[in-house]
Structure formats: C-alpha cells, structure tokens
C-alpha cells in the first residue's frame, strides 16, 4: 500500500517511517520541490510528494483564480449608503449643438485618482469645495436650470509621505489635478485646495 508506486493516503505512515501529513503540508505550501536530505533519496517520500502534488492541482487552480468584485454590485451598495447625503451636482458645458453635463462625482473620482498618482502622496480623498470657499463658476446643482457653470473647485485631503516639501507637493498636486480634470471633463478647475491632513 505504501510502496513507491502505491497511492498513499493523506494520513498514514509510509514504508520509510515518515508520516504523510507533513508531506501534504509541504505540497500545500508550495514546497514540494524543497526536498530534505531523507527525501532526496527516499522513493516512498518522493512518490508520495509527486502524487500529492498531482492531486493538489485543482486546489492550486482555485488559489490562482482571483475574481474581482463586480463593480456594479459594490456601486449599488454604495449608492444606498449615499442615500440621504446631498443631491447629485452637475457641471455644465454648453456648445452650439447642446450641452454636456458632468456629474460632480466624476470630478471627485478623477481628482482623487490624479492626486493619488503624485509621488509623495500616500492616500488622497477629494470632494467638491464647499460653498464659502470663494468659488466661482462652479459645479452647480442640477436644479438651478439655466446656470452654465463650466468651472469646478476641488478640495483634496491627503496624507503625505514624511520628509518632503509639503508646499511643493501641494503645487504639484494642484498642477496635476487641474490639468487632468480640465483635459478629461472640459470643466475649468478654478480652485484646487490641498489639505495635508497627516504625514507618515
């Protein structure tokens, strides 16, 4: 039963005296080829390792399969969380043939993404600058019909990497975010406020 050509059970002693349990662990942890001195010359251990390695294939396939969360599923849940928070706002860009509306969330997501890519930024959040920040033009509430605000103001809160010129970092972020938002949405970022909240 436990000869070199037989199929060893996952919990039994091989003819050489070794238990199969540690061999199973060796295979499961991806160390099947890391043979110790005994295993290098033991046909029982090598046969068992080979067999377990072969049988472990389907489990390896599961471990290698990395499905991602469906974005629509997560977004649907976040929409429910957002219920009760402020209404959606839109920027509006007019053209002779009509107009384009850009949701404030688009600007927020873009700004967060852009700021997060700037070297020295550990993590960034962004939001539309609140009223009272001296914003003009603006991302306007959809209910204000007739307003043709083509401007946006963004506030970015971030934690920065320790040991750098934070003022220079702020300037880099302002530049990257303003250019990125302008290019992607057509809205003019008239104000990009950078709030360094923490340093690590």
């Amino acid at each position: 039963m436990t000869g070199p050509t037989a199929l060893p059970a996952p919990e039994e002693r091989l003819a050489c005296g070794r238990w199969t349990g540690p061999l199973v662990e060796q295979v499961a942890e991806g160390r099947a080829r890391e043979l110790d001195e005994h295993q290098r010359t033991c046909p029982h251990c090598r046969a068992a390792l080979g067999e377990f390695e072969r049988l472990w294939g389907p489990v390896r396939a599961v471990a290698a399969d990395r499905p991602r969360a469906p974005v629509s599923v997560v977004e649907a849940a976040l929409r429910r969380v957002r219920t009760g928070s402020r209404e959606a706002e839109y920027g509006r860009l007019d053209s002779p043939l009509g107009h384009t509306r850009v949701a404030s969330r688009v600007v927020v997501a873009l700004a967060r993404h852009l700021a997060g890519q700037v070297p020295g930024v550990e993590v960034a959040l962004s939001g539309l600058a609140a009223e009272g920040h001296g914003v003009v033009g603006e991302v306007v509430p959809d209910v204000q019909a007739g307003v043709s605000g083509g401007s946006t103001a963004v506030q970015i809160t971030l934690a920065a990497a320790y040991g750098q010129d934070l003022q220079a970092l702020g300037e880099r972020i302002r530049s990257v975010v303003a250019r990125g938002v302008r290019e992607a949405t057509g809205l003019e970022p008239v104000d990009v406020t950078v709030l360094v909240d923490d340093v690590w």
Binding site: R54, L55, V59, V62, A63, A64, R82
Partner: protein
C-alpha cells in the same frame, strides 16, 4: 502565505504595515462621517470581501449579496469598531460571519438545496485537460468542506492570511487554525484521490 500560491508567512511586511496605516487614516475619516473616506476604504478591500464571500458561500449570487450587505452594514457599524485590532481583522470577521449566516439561511429555506448526489461528477485530475474543469473540481471540493475547515482554509490557503491573522479573524488560537487547516487539506486530498481512482 502568498495570495497566489498558498505559502504561509508568519510576519507582517512593510507593505502590510503601510496598508494598515492607510486603513487607520481612512477609518478615522469615515468615522467622522466622511463618505469619501469610506468609499476609498471599500475600494481598497472590495475584491477581498467578494472573494472571501465567494469561496465560503461557493455561489456567485450569494457572494454578490454578502458583498452588498457588508458594504452597507459596515458604514453604520464603523462607529462600533474599537480600533483595538487591525481594520482588516474586523472586516474579514464581518465578511466570514455574514457569509456563514447567508449560507445557513439559504440551506434552511431552499428546498432544492444541492445534495452530494446533485453535484456534477468531476473527472480525475489526469483527465482534466481543461483548466476550467480543474478549477471547478477544486471549487466543488472546497464547497464540501465543513464550515470549521472551510473558513481557515479560505483565509490561509486561498487569501494568504497568516495563522495568527486567521486566528484573530475566527477568534480561535493559532493551533486551532493549524489543526483545521491540516484537516481541510487532508480532506481535499482524499476527495481528489477518489476522483482520480
């Protein structure tokens, strides 16, 4: 363990520590009511939430439900997060418990619950030339594991948590996690062996 190969690690890495720091910052902001911080927190962890739910429930629709429930529940539950453990420990515990609850509810209510006989027979590994079939064989075998074995197996073998992390998530000891993981591996090999016979 690595996330792809199932190799155990027993200590945190610099990346882990930095990730924990970012989580703590985001949790603090979210607890102050910053929805943006909460959304970022969810974005950072959504794939793992989904995968753990998927591997424990064994069903994509159930994993969708659990993921949504967790995302909604966490927003209000964050105020109860003491911060004495890592955010991920707390998060994974919520996901595991939700997944098990969901599965138990489904078992109780579904009259057409699949039985062992309903599961499609799978060819032995030597005949499974299509990678998809090998994956399916593995998934079905994992789905048959008892809860007590499946949870540590998913956390350690599939998601790469250390024994200590999995013990913290399941509120057991490292020795318990090791023992259950070993039994899960043995059970799985025995299943694979019967398929290949």
């Amino acid at each position: 363990m690595t996330s792809d190969g199932g190799v155990a690690h027993d200590g945190g890495t610099v990346t882990d520590e930095r990730g924990s720091q970012i989580d703590r910052w985001l949790v603090r902001k979210a607890r102050d009511g910053e929805l943006g911080a909460y959304e970022e927190l969810i974005r950072r962890h959504r794939d793992r939430i989904y995968r753990i739910a998927l591997r424990i429930t064994g069903d994509a629709a159930d994993a969708d439900d659990v993921t949504q429930e967790v995302v909604i529940q966490l927003w209000t539950a964050l105020s109860g997060f003491a911060g004495s453990s890592a955010f991920t420990t707390w998060l994974y515990r919520v996901v595991v418990n939700r997944s098990l609850d969901h599965q138990r509810r489904a078992r109780r209510t579904a009259s057409d619950e699949p039985t062992e006989g309903d599961l499609v027979p799978v060819a032995g590994p030597e005949r499974t030339v299509v990678a998809g079939e090998e994956l399916r064989a593995g998934l079905e075998a994992i789905a048959r594991l008892p809860d007590a074995q499946r949870v540590p197996f998913v956390l350690c073998q599939i998601e790469g948590l250390s024994y200590a992390q999995a013990a913290a998530v399941t509120k057991t000891s490292e020795a318990t996690v090791r023992g259950r993981l070993a039994r899960a591996r043995t059970t799985l090999l025995a299943e694979m062996r019967s398929w290949s016979a």
